[in-house]
């Protein structure tokens, strides 16, 4: 386990933008910038000893009113070594964009679409970056912190506008 950690650290050393991060329960975590993330995950996937061949998830979180506003979070897994690595990528609130992982993992396709749908973070190079859980034409990105918790949304079936107009 510990020498696998060192191997991951060695891979991370090859990238200027990648530094160690903290996991609450002792998991392996890194922080990367948007420019290095694709190369870093690719190196992890293609390293013959590590073989991080499974893409567990990509998601994001929102530091509303702080900068950098969003964090995109990736988790990849090596089945052979039974090891997970989580990488956090801070992106700015103004035009948030990260490179797509769809060229490396098939699994990234729908999950990146979900992050786009929910947070409005663009994945550069994604073959079909469209909404997935919400419908086309929906306004806003629901998991952003400023998205209202109450009220009607225009276009929903039960929508009642001002003066009872649908």
């Amino acid at each position: 386990m510990s020498d696998l950690r060192e191997k991951v650290a060695l891979v991370a050393k090859g990238f200027d933008g990648v530094v160690a991060d903290e996991d609450l329960r002792g998991g392996i975590a890194y922080r990367s910038d948007a420019a290095s993330i694709h190369g870093f995950l690719k190196a992890l996937k293609e390293d013959p000893a590590l073989k991080f061949e499974m893409f567990v998830y990509v998601t994001a979180n929102d530091n509303y009113l702080d900068e950098p506003r969003f964090n995109v979070i990736y988790q990849v897994r090596s089945l052979e070594n039974n090891l997970d690595v989580r990488v956090r990528v801070p992106v700015p609130g103004e035009d948030p964009v990260v490179p797509t992982m769809t060229d490396l993992w098939f699994a990234a396709n729908w999950m990146e679409r979900e992050v786009w749908d929910m947070f409005g973070i663009r994945f550069e190079g994604h073959p079909k970056l469209e909404r997935i859980l919400m419908w086309e034409g929906f306004e806003g990105h629901p998991l952003r912190k400023e998205f209202p918790l109450l009220g009607n949304v225009r276009g929903t079936p039960g929508y009642v506008g001002k003066g009872g107009k649908r």
Binding site: E53, M54, F55, V56, T59, I73, A107, L149
Partner: protein, 406 residues
Amino acid sequence: MSTTTGQIDIVLDRPESARGEHQILNMGPSHPSTHGVLRIILELDGEMIVKAEPIIGYLHRAMEKIAESMTFHMFIPYTDRLDYLAPLSNNVAVTMAQEHLLGIDVPDRAKSIRVLCCELSRISSHLLGLGAFAMDVGAMTVFLWCFRERERIYTLIEYLTGARFTTSYTRVGGMASDIPEGWIQELNNFLADFPERVAEFSNMLNANRIWVQRTKDVGVISREMAINAGLTGPNLRGSGVAWDLRRERPYLGYEQYDFDVIVGSVGDSYDRYLCRVEEMLQSHKILVQAVDKLATGPIRNEDPKISLPEKSETLMGMEQLIHQFILITEGQDAPVGESYYGVENPKGELGFYFRSKGGGYPDRMFIRSPSFVNLAILPHCIEGRYISDVVAILGSIDFVMGECDR
């Protein structure tokens, strides 16, 4: 489309004169064989599927957004509605992730009860998956037989938790209540003849010519593709990858139980079906051992800042009343940071990512749902196949839209 194996090329390589006009067919969202509200837009050349596009989100209830404005306990009932065919194991999964975030342990008896819960719901989920799959392909009897067995499990669950579907049986640090008197006897009655019942319907299907023709070499997912697409659960194991979180990262004391990880060889619908049937028998094996090893002792962590006191004590004791009040109104004080914890659910790895800024509410909760990830592979499986194969593949992937759309 380039990822599809061979079959798609057959369609495209046919001479111009043999190619028909492409037709768009809408399947779902309320179609009996789409297992909920899945909609697929199929582009057809005659009976052959050239392109398939699943449309999801019809059951989206914004669970992740909801979780941001409630305490950990308040979210547990929502997980009943995630994979609504195995509510007990969702309860266990979310509570384990919350305990991982809080950094607490649960007593042995709670662990044993959780193992019973997980394996019972695994059997019930696989029974429904198998029954619905068989009915989609035309075997009505299997569906009825599966439901008969499932009903017995639901009776057991009702006896245990007081509810059939909306169980909400776990609490942070342990369980809501102990096993009621006489329940173990009922469970043993169920376990006594369950393997015979499984043998009944696997005898109906294993060598059934129609079944084999409809499922063998249909919807093949290669080993590489299964890993690359992030599949988990029986779908991954059906493709020959021996990955089971119960074995690889034992939780709840799974390392003490003797069971096999079932793997397929080809990765077709038939292999996935066999994996599920065998997994039911393995779950039965675990249940028998778990009843034997059932630990005694408390069912909840004794830390009053983490787990709820006994209800009867809150009405009598001042301390307990205060703790109950604080835990219900403010919740457990979580440390600042991030954590992820995944467990092996019937459908695959159900994981929860938490980001906490301290206090009783998570700042962000993400549900890594196995159905969502598994369903993404659907176009890869059905493009280049005939339209009648769609139901055979949908059934074998065994997803639940409640979990997929969250």
